[in-house]
Structure formats: structure tokens, C-alpha cells
């Protein structure tokens, strides 16, 4: 069973809507309270990034399956300016990555899988997955 739903991000309130959607899905899939909070935080960071740097974009939440495990996939996409230096954005502990534990390195840590595709002037798509343990 594949399930998919999405929230468009235009305003800060859409961040809250994306969080709510993600938390509901995570709960439904059987993630524990702490993991629910982590998934929600990851969504929050991704949506915030769209809101701050691309202006508008979309968060898609999908329930996924691999072998015997179930997971949740978050796809954050925008048609913004793209990320000029991915290495810098993924680097730890510097203001460029959003400061203390936040930003993209944070999303990667909160989730199990993380992938980023960005092209200047075309946009950015970030996919993050967490599996139920």
C-alpha cells in the first residue's frame, strides 16, 4: 500500500501544516513518540528551508516499504535558486549550516537516509527516509 500526500509551502503556517501531516502519518505507521518528534522536526527544518530560501515549494509524505520494513519518506522540493555549495551546507557546526545541530546536517541525523539533488537556477529536491525499527 502506497500512501502519499503533500503540503505546499508558502507561509510559515504551512510549516505547521506539514509538521501535522508528518506527525499523523508517523503515528499511523507505528513510530514511537520520540521518533514522531524527530520526523516532525526533520519536516519542520526542510519546510523552513523552503520558506526561507526558495520562497515556495512542496513537502510530500509517502509511506514506503522495503523487504519487511515500513518507512516514511519526506520529499522536499522547490524551484528556488539551488544550493551553490552543497559541501558547505552539509558541513557540521558552522553558521552556514544553520548553527548548533540544525539545518541539513540535522535532518540527515534525524532520519536514516538522506539525499540531496540541487541545480543552480533549477531548484533543489531533498529526500529523507526513516524506517521503523
Amino acid at each position: 500500500m502506497e500512501y502519499r500526500s503533500s503540503v505546499d509551502i508558502y507561509t510559515e503556517w504551512d510549516i505547521v501544516a506539514a509538521r501535522q501531516l508528518g506527525r499523523n502519518e508517523a503515528k499511523k505507521l507505528g513510530f514511537g513518540t520520540v521518533d514522531q518528534a524527530r520526523i516532525t522536526t526533520a519536516i519542520s527544518e526542510l519546510a523552513r528551508n523552503i520558506y526561507l530560501y526558495a520562497g515556495k515549494g512542496k513537502i510530500e509524505i509517502t509511506c514506503i516499504h522495503k523487504d519487511d520494513t515500513t518507512g516514511i519518506s519526506i520529499i522536499a522540493s522547490d524551484e528556488g535558486p539551488g544550493i551553490p555549495d552543497v559541501r558547505k551546507v552539509m558541513d557540521d557546526g558552522f553558521t552556514t549550516s544553520g548553527g548548533l545541530g540544525a539545518g541539513m546536517p540535522g535532518v540527515r541525523r534525524l532520519m536514516d537516509e538522506f539525499n540531496i539533488v540541487t541545480k543552480r537556477g533549477v531548484g533543489t529536491t531533498i529526500t529523507a527516509i526513516k524506517w521503523i525499527r
Partner: protein
Amino acid sequence: MPQEIEKHYKEILKQYIQDQNEKDLYSGQKFSRQFIEKEISPEEVIGIHKASLKELFPEASDKLWHSFDFLIEMMIHYGLALQEHQSLIRKQEEMEMEMKIAAQVQNTLLKTKVPNFPCLDIGFLTIPAKQMSGDYIYFLNDDPNNASVAVADVIGKGIPAALCMSMIKYGMDSMQYESASPGIVLEIVNRIVEDSIDDSMFISMFYGMYNAENSAFSYASAGHEPALLYRAAEGEFVELDADGLLLGIDRAVHYEERSVQLEKGDFVAIMTDGVTETRTESGFIDEGLIRDLLESVKDKPAQEMADTVYQHLGELQNFQLHDDFTIVIFKKEDK
């Protein structure tokens, strides 16, 4: 201020307990980021949480509050680790700044002047893999007829390698007015290196000297990558190599000296292993690639030739160099 924070915390918490709205969790989390920035430790957060609950649940049993005291105790070391982190970030940023300055100092210290010969077109390029380079190019123009170049690579990268480079530079400086031949230069530099650095550091060096009168290119090598000579008439490459140990192993090494004649359109490309052993995701590059690249631009100016090689090999590795990348081209022109 802590009082205001406590008040604000209690309000959001109260809101959330009432209607479990996602909005409150979002505000709470945004608030928690400010906490971290203000260096409020997790045990303090638990302290604030406990105080807020005490007002919200005045009837709760003492046991509950004891459980919070326990939780505070559990959080202390988390708080310490966080403070340590903040200090480490500062240290790290300082270090980055220091490396940046050091790289500038290195550049100024090691600057070298390119000989200007009417019959010889010189191109060169050196790109460090980290901030500081362990590759080094030194030009010598000690005699109006001789244009010489030393290309060196310290085994190892980063700061330790950079320190060694400065020694090479002063070794070379001391020979500025001696018109020594390639084998002799390597012998002298070898002794300086052997005297000054410890046994774990080695340096490879290629020394080449072009004489404008007889168009001879004589060279010697201290365990360095062979240079490539392109024969324009035959359209073929020849490797230029000569016997000689790495610098800094043995004080008494003799360096073989060889010589070739350059004709119009011939060029010599001296490189470090950062070029020849370019690593891509699928392994090392094919040996022929560099030759093909060089041949494809053989009619361009020497600098453009060097730039092209870097452009192509850099792209293959997403410009994330594994080793310092250095190339020098001596190309014989029409007189």
C-alpha cells in the same frame, strides 16, 4: 531574563496541554533553539518544566517532583557536553581562520618569479588539496641563458608538508647565484633536507634546466614522477626520468643527470602525482588520458595547456582533490 523565559515556557506548555495543537509544538521548538543559542542547558529546561508543572498541577504528589529531580541529575552531563560543544565550535572556527591566514603566509613566503624567455613559453599551476600545499614550484633564472624549475612534492599533506616546503625554498634561495647543474642542485638540497627534517618526511623533486643557447633541457629527479616530453615532429610522447632517491633518505645520494634537445613545438610537462594519479569514483585515471589532453591543446599557449589539464581532471573528481595538483609546462617556441 530567566524569569521571562520561564513565563513564556509555561504559557506555551499550558496551551499545548490544553489542546495538543501542532502550532504550540512548533513554537516550543523554535523557542528551544533560542535556549541553545542562549546557552541554557538541558537541566535548566527540565528545571523550568518542573516549575511550570508545579503551577499547573498543584495537587500532584511529591513523588512526581522527586522524579524530576532525578531527571535533572541525569541531564547534567548532557549540559556539560553541550557547553563543551560550544567551546569546541569556537576553537574550530579559530582554527579555520588560522589555516586561512597560514595559507596566505605560505603563498607569500613561497612566491617565485617566472623567467621571461623569448624562445620559451612557460605555463604552470598548483592547486592545494587542503588549505596548505605540500607541492612546490620554484623557478630559477640564475644565468641569462638558463631557465630552471624545481617541482617538489612532500610525501604527506597539510601543515607538516607546508613547513617542509619553506625549508626547500630557503635551500633553493641559497643557490641563487651558483648556476649549478640539475644533479648538483638535487645533491645540495638533499643534504639540507637530510640535516633539517626528521626521518619520517620525504620529498620528491624534479629539477629541469633549459639552456637558451643550445636548446638543451637537462634534468635530474629525486624519486619524482617522470616528466613527459612531447616530440612535435613525431607526434609522440617520451618519458623523462633519471635515477635518484627521494630527498631526505641518505646524505650521500648521487643524482643522475640527463639531457634532451628541444625542437620547435616540443614541450616538457612536469607534474606531481596529484595529477598523474587522479582518482575518480571508479578508480585511477587511464595513463593515456593526460597525454591525450596535452596533445589536444599542443598548439595553445603553455598556460592554457596547464589550465586545460586541470579543468578536465578536476571535473572528473568533482574538484574535490585527493592530493595537491601541480603542473609546469616548458614549451619551445620559434626564436
